[in-house]
């Protein structure tokens, strides 16, 4: 699938190259704890120098996947390959993989400096080289002043940065980051994100990162995998995931979206039509990749709030892709306003409008009868 909407950060798409060889490969990997299946027959390819994100609800198996790659858990079934070599039987301390732990796992009896230097010393690096590297890492995470402190003398966010620095210090081929920036404030988080991206380009490392911050995943990733109950729901570039979700689950999980339930009423190639009681019209849109397209099937139309136009003027009678409703609520968020519109069948549809001027009075207000329209192809019809 090569429908990426617009150029993203840089041209890098080895996964589209039929000759591309994956660097990390999960091959039908299953992990069971007792009879609980944490990772379910999962296959995943990650390419060298890729910045790959795992997104998914709590408990869906993200950490388990990373722990198997780092060597702390053995797959119950399937195998994991790194650079073509099966990792089975290789202990964690011999894998060219470093992991930043979700719980940080800093050594409480060592200073920040010693924590960062630990892996370097383990590799037998010269002490002046270690010092240079440690200083560089401290600069990266902005903790120069805290080098001599012990972990318990640091704030949560500072500890997280030490953990990050410690895992990056060895410049491993593969870096696994389990929620690396969750405890940082927004500004620091954004700065660190960009520094991580720079570092990745500079050092050519492969990053596998778990995050609950979708914006972060969008910003840093080459590709994103959305997981659910131990399986991958969708893999794609940030734009693909956002604009072309394959299932309701992914659509709903990533970002804010309106889902309008209905039934498929007509099929013409990849174009579907959707009708539903009480929405007052027919919706035409492209079908999601890999979905069934049969008339009469339950389906839903998915559209992002920022793509919905809201207006009090009625469009020409009989036009498609129009919804009619009443303003139920208006939320003012500073940069945008969110209008919640209640359709005749009770469905609430959100539309966001950028606040381009400073006027406080809006032309549309509570209980106004409004029409919602959108550009062609702004939405997508999901049958799964």
């Amino acid at each position: 699938m090569n429908k990426a909407v617009g150029p993203i950060k840089r041209k890098f798409a080895p996964w589209d190259d039929p000759a591309g060889v994956p660097f990390i490969r999960f091959e039908n990997v299953t992990k069971r704890f007792g009879d609980f299946v944490a990772v379910d027959n999962l296959t995943l390819d990650i390419y060298e120098r890729e910045f790959f994100s795992l997104l998914g609800p709590s408990g869906c198996g993200k950490t388990t996947l990373m722990r198997m790659l780092a060597g702390f858990e053995n797959p119950t079934e399937g195998r994991i390959l790194l650079d073509g070599k099966d990792l089975a039987g290789i202990p964690p301390y011999k894998r060219p993989v470093n992991m930043m732990f979700q719980s940080y796992a800093l050594f409480p009896h060592m200073t920040v400096e010693a924590n960062i230097a630990f892996g370097l010393k383990q590799d037998g690096m010269e002490s002046d080289q270690i010092n240079t590297r440690v200083a560089e890492m401290l600069r990266l995470v902005k903790l120069e002043k805290f080098a001599k402190r012990k972990p318990h003398q640091l704030s949560g966010g500072q500890r997280q940065r030490v953990a990050l620095a410690r895992s990056v210090a060895k410049r491993p081929k593969v870096l696994l980051l389990d929620e690396p920036l969750g405890a940082l404030d927004k500004k620091l988080r954004e700065e660190t994100q960009f520094e991580l991206m720079d570092l990745q380009i500079e050092l050519g490392m492969t990053f596998l990162i778990v995050t609950h911050d979708q914006e972060e995943a969008m910003t840093v990733s080459d590709r994103i995998a959305v997981m659910n109950h131990g399986v991958i729901a969708q893999i794609g570039t940030p734009a693909e995931i956002y604009e072309l979700p394959a299932t309701r689950y992914v659509a709903d999980f990533i970002g804010d979206i309106n889902l309008i339930e209905g039934k498929v009423s007509a099929v013409s190639g990849t174009q579907l039509s959707l009708t539903s009681e009480g929405i007052g019209g027919v919706i035409d849109a492209e079908a999601a990749e890999g979905g069934d397209a049969t008339v009469g099937l339950d389906a839903c139309f998915a559209i992002r709030p920022e793509k919905v136009r809201i207006s009090r003027e009625a469009p020409p009678a009989g036009s498609h892709n129009v919804l009619e409703g009443e303003v139920w609520d208006i939320g003012y968020l500073g940069d945008i306003s969110v209008y919640r519109v209640k359709l005749a069948n009770g469905t609430i549809v959100k539309a966001t409008v950028a606040n381009m001027t400073r006027i406080v009075e809006r032309p549309i207000t509570w209980e106004d009868k409004v029409y919602l329209t959108w550009p062609r192809d702004a939405g997508i019809i999901l049958t799964k």
């Binding site: 702390f72 964690p92 009896h109």
Partner: protein
């Protein structure tokens, strides 16, 4: 009103909480200690109690105080027996403590690594010997270690020993070490276990992740983090072992010199209360001074 009352009430309660341990120490440690110090400054006498001067009433108290002297302490330094006994006690206590650490650490480590449900059972098993009398357990060791005892019989049955060969460790220091290690093991294991059990296992994973093989990870992570437990266990064992009397008396025979035995002999055989008090006071100083220095060092860290 209630608002202003409450804090004062709770601060009173707080003082009480702080005062209880001090009061306890004052009544059950400081007061007897001063009595011992007083006796150690007196002279033996054929009387009951067998020393003088005695405090009869306030009027003669000052006279009594003027008769105090440090003679007993001087006597301790003049007789090489006492110095030898102190040194021997310290040596035996030191070796025993190291043996206890060597035996106790693997046990505590195994307990801390055991599955959660089993751990409490293991702790129970460590404490279990306390349910029988300490004396009975030491007597039992006599039955095991004596020349014609159980251990000799076992070794003979296994043909490691010939039929005439006998174990010659009863009434030696070896028997004392065995008895001490056996008796004090829980005091070493429990603090070690407490320290090891609360260690976060992911630290070892982090070490492995950074390229550290398990054995190195033990010395770089596990052992340093268990140090508070090591220190606590060593103090809990070392201090009472220095003054140990029963085990060397029952298992060590006459060849084992320990200050506890010397003290007992002074007190009961010679009925020399002042000298035995002086022995006790010096023992206390020998033990307290290094502990205080150590604790100050710890605070500075």
């Amino acid at each position: 009103m209630a608002d202003t009352k409450d804090p004062t009430g709770s601060s009173k309660a707080k003082w009480l909480v702080v005062a209880v341990p001090y009061l306890w120490s004052a009544i059950f440690f400081l007061a007897p200690f001063f009595i011992i110090v007083k006796i150690s400054l007196s002279q033996t006498a054929i009387a009951m109690p067998p020393y003088m001067p005695q405090f009869k009433d306030l009027a003669t108290a000052w006279d009594a105080v003027r008769q105090f002297s440090l003679d007993n302490y001087v006597f301790l330094t003049e007789d090489p027996l006492y110095i030898a006994a102190y040194l021997s006690s310290l040596r035996i206590a030191l070796i025993s403590t190291l043996l206890l650490l060597a035996v106790g650490y693997p046990i505590a480590y195994g307990m801390a690594r055991a599955p959660k449900g089993v751990r409490n059972v293991l702790v129970m098993l460590v404490i279990l010997p306390f349910w029988t009398s300490f004396l009975i357990r030491v007597y039992a060791w006599i039955g095991i270690l004596k020349p014609e005892g159980l251990l000799t019989m076992l070794l003979q049955a296994l043909h490691i020993f010939g039929p005439d060969q006998q174990l010659k460790i009863f009434n030696t220091e070896t028997a004392v070490f065995i008895g001490i290690v056996y008796s004090y093991l829980p005091f070493m294991v429990l603090p070690l276990y407490a320290a090891l059990e609360k260690m976060d296992h992911t630290l070892l994973e982090a070490a492995a992740d950074l390229g550290c093989p398990p054995l190195q990870a033990f010395w770089k992570i596990t052992f340093p983090l268990s140090l508070p437990g090591v220190v606590a266990g060593c103090f809990l064992c070392f201090i009472p072992i220095v003054g140990e009397f029963v085990i060397p008396d029952l298992l060590g025979g006459s060849g084992t010199l320990m200050i506890g035995k010397t003290l007992w002999a002074e007190f009961f055989n010679n009925r020399d209360w002042p000298v035995s008090s002086a022995v006790a006071v010096v023992l206390l100083i020998i033990l307290v001074v290094p502990i205080v220095i150590f604790q100050n060092q710890q605070k500075k860290l």
